[in-house]
């Protein structure tokens, strides 16, 4: 084949070899009934030409890359984790460069990111019950997690084994523990639609921690850096006037600090 490939030949080649190709259990759904697949003899002639012609090779590559990306896109749907990350990435556009850098670094390990998150139900329905405000850690804590989340109030066993510890759930408060130290308190208030996060032991949380509050249905994520509380060893973040709904609250991990110099 001496002449360069025509557009039509390129299209037929891509369709025959990559798009319309039938597989053992699956044949392509979308096809043009008028076009037929190229015979092998013709495919070989074209490939022979492609191996020696950089111009045609670059044109086929361009059209092939497009064809495959488009087919993949048609089949593709982002999963819930990817949608959460996309929301955060979009919200980052408006942030200070130093915060942006920290969050991008934080997002690189999704498992660590997710291990430091809690679900927040703000004045909305949950499991069929209305106007619930609740903070909960649903997913099991994996070994990467540095924080362990617990509800603060423990009660005694009313019956059964007296040695069993029962946790009486104050559902709008959740504490974060590192080893035995209570270093974080998250509160949600239904009336004021507020989430308040208090970071105990200021030395430990350096630089001042960042949180991302991500609405799981609609709305933009809220990114906040904690401010130092006057006259006490604490950082605080308070977000008021939230819309009722479900949120994911992500707290910046602090593993590197802990490894270098554990202030506890």
């Amino acid at each position: 084949m001496k002449d360069h490939l025509t557009d039509e030949q390129i299209e037929n080649y891509i369709d025959s070899e990559y798009i319309q190709k039938k597989s053992v259990l699956y044949s392509p759904i979308d096809h043009d009934e008028t076009s037929t697949l190229l015979p092998m003899k013709e495919i070989i002639q074209m490939e022979d030409h492609l191996n020696g012609c950089d111009l045609c090779l670059s044109r086929v590559t361009k059209a092939l890359d497009f064809s495959i990306s488009f087919q993949e896109w048609i089949e593709e749907k982002p999963n819930s984790d990817q949608k959460v990350m996309i929301k955060i990435l979009k919200a980052l556009h408006y942030e200070d460069p130093s915060i942006k850098t920290r969050i991008l670094k934080w997002l690189k390990d999704w498992r660590v990111f997710m291990s430091n998150t809690v679900d927040v139900i703000m004045d909305t329905s949950y499991n069929g019950i209305s106007n619930i405000t609740k903070i909960l850690k649903k997913s099991p804590i994996n070994k990467d997690a540095t924080l362990i989340f617990k509800n603060p109030v423990e009660s005694f066993a009313m019956r059964g084994n007296v040695n069993t510890t029962f946790e009486k759930k104050r559902e709008n408060v959740l504490n974060g523990y590192l080893q035995e130290n209570n270093i974080l308190e998250i509160q949600a208030q239904s009336q004021t639609k507020t989430i308040q996060i208090t970071f105990n032991n200021e030395k430990f949380w350096q630089p001042s921690p960042i949180i991302i509050l991500i609405p799981t249905q609609s709305g933009k994520p809220i990114i906040r850096a904690a401010y130092e509380k006057k006259d006490c060893d604490q950082f605080e973040i308070s977000i008021e006037g939230l819309y009722p709904g479900k949120y994911l609250l992500a707290i910046e991990p602090f593993l590197p600090v802990q490894k270098q110099n554990n202030p506890l």
């Binding site: 759904i29 490939e47 022979d48 092939l64 089949e75 999963n79 949608k83 996309i86 999704w110």
Partner: protein
């Protein structure tokens, strides 16, 4: 025949077979070379442009293919009605060398290898799972379960790729055996016993290929979002008639194409509005961004039909003659369907895709 004779005969047969398979070298060289140049040029950087280096790599693949084909020749089947049986044999040899090429890339942790394997086999594997998994077929739950198992098949493949032996079977058969195990697990192991043990065991093996990884990567997600915006903009600008573009968008968000035909009596504007909401749920963009991207399509829907179909398109004008004075937004989709709506959906999907590709080739 004595045992010695049998061994000698087999050796002779082997030599003859290697000669026959060597005759296919030029075919395999051409195919492999173009495959590498078109699909894996970045992974063979420096080698794909250096003729001698590339020839050497391909030579290795071909000689291994010959050996493997000898050990698997008993599995080779002729296609009864095919005119050229040698072509079938050559294609079989090529499929072996293609498996070797993919395996080499995957073993070197090149994401293009997994990507190609996934592209080639994700739909057949999903079809296999859907056929063999127990459950109410056609429901969203069942479909999601099949997708999850298909993803899990590729994730497991990536972890155990080094156990694959090309002398015993194809990559596809290996994937099928993994899918079989998962289907069996699904039907026999109670849900409560499945989770922790496997997760702990396999936690450190982060997949290299993001599409099958449960962990999203910021850079790749960003790229996906930009690509989606580009495809949508191009489709709306160059994809064809608004109802065809609308159907392609509906196809993307529907599990079954009959879901679209069921809505065919709805006016296009209503269909467009509900598509937009559903699209935002399975898109990299939120509803506000989609509003902006879809604005030109919405504007087109506000036009009278005769202003949308060019005068030179006599066929469409003739077919839709009764509706030419009606606003496109008020017309139901059924007006544009022929006798077989599913065929229309299939054709429009293919045509829109071809129009966009043509533009790429022309640019």
């Amino acid at each position: 025949m004595t045992n010695n004779q049998t061994i000698d005969e087999t050796k002779k047969l082997y030599d003859e077979y290697i000669k026959l398979s060597a005759e296919q070298s030029s075919f395999l060289t051409t195919r492999l070379k173009s495959r590498i140049k078109l699909r894996f040029r970045k992974d063979f950087e420096g080698q794909s442009s250096d003729k001698k280096k590339l020839d050497k790599i391909i030579e290795k693949f071909i000689s291994q293919t010959q050996e493997i084909s000898w050990s698997r020749i008993k599995n080779f089947l002729y296609e009864e009605y095919h005119e050229n049986q040698m072509e079938i044999y050559r294609m079989w040899m090529f499929s072996i060398s293609q498996d070797l090429l993919l395996l080499k890339l995957i073993s070197k942790r090149k994401s293009s290898g997994m990507s190609e394997l996934y592209r080639e086999y994700n739909l057949p594997i999903k079809a296999y799972i859907s056929k063999n998994l127990l459950g109410v077929k056609g429901t969203e739950f069942f479909n999601n379960k099949c997708t999850d198992l298909m993803m899990e098949t590729f994730q497991r493949f990536e972890r155990y790729a080094m156990n694959f032996n090309p002398y015993k079977g194809t990559l596809f058969s290996y994937l099928i055996s993994i899918a079989d195990h998962l289907i069996k697990d699904e039907t026999t192991i109670p849900e409560t016993l499945v989770s922790d043990f496997n997760e702990q065991d396999e936690q450190d093996n982060t997949p290299i290929f993001w599409a099958i990884s449960k962990d999203p990567s910021p850079d790749q997600l960003h790229e996906k979002a930009s690509k989606e915006k580009y495809f949508l903009e191009q489709m709306i600008a160059e994809g064809g008639y608004p109802w065809q573009v609308l159907v392609v968008l509906l196809t993307k968000i529907s599990d079954e194409r009959t879901d679209i035909t069921a809505l065919s009596e709805l006016p296009l504007l209503k269909l467009f509005q509900s598509m937009k909401t559903s699209f935002s749920e399975s898109s990299f963009h939120d509803i506000e961004e989609l509003e902006e991207i879809f604005k030109p399509l919405e504007n087109q829907l506000m036009l009278i039909l005769k202003n949308v179909i060019p005068t030179k398109d006599h066929q469409s004008r003739g077919y839709l003659h009764d509706y030419l004075e009606v606003k496109l937004a008020d017309l139901p989709l059924s007006v544009f369907f022929g006798k077989d709506p599913l065929k229309n959906i299939r054709d429009w999907n293919h045509r829109v895709f071809k129009r966009l590709r043509k533009k790429i080739l022309e640019s």
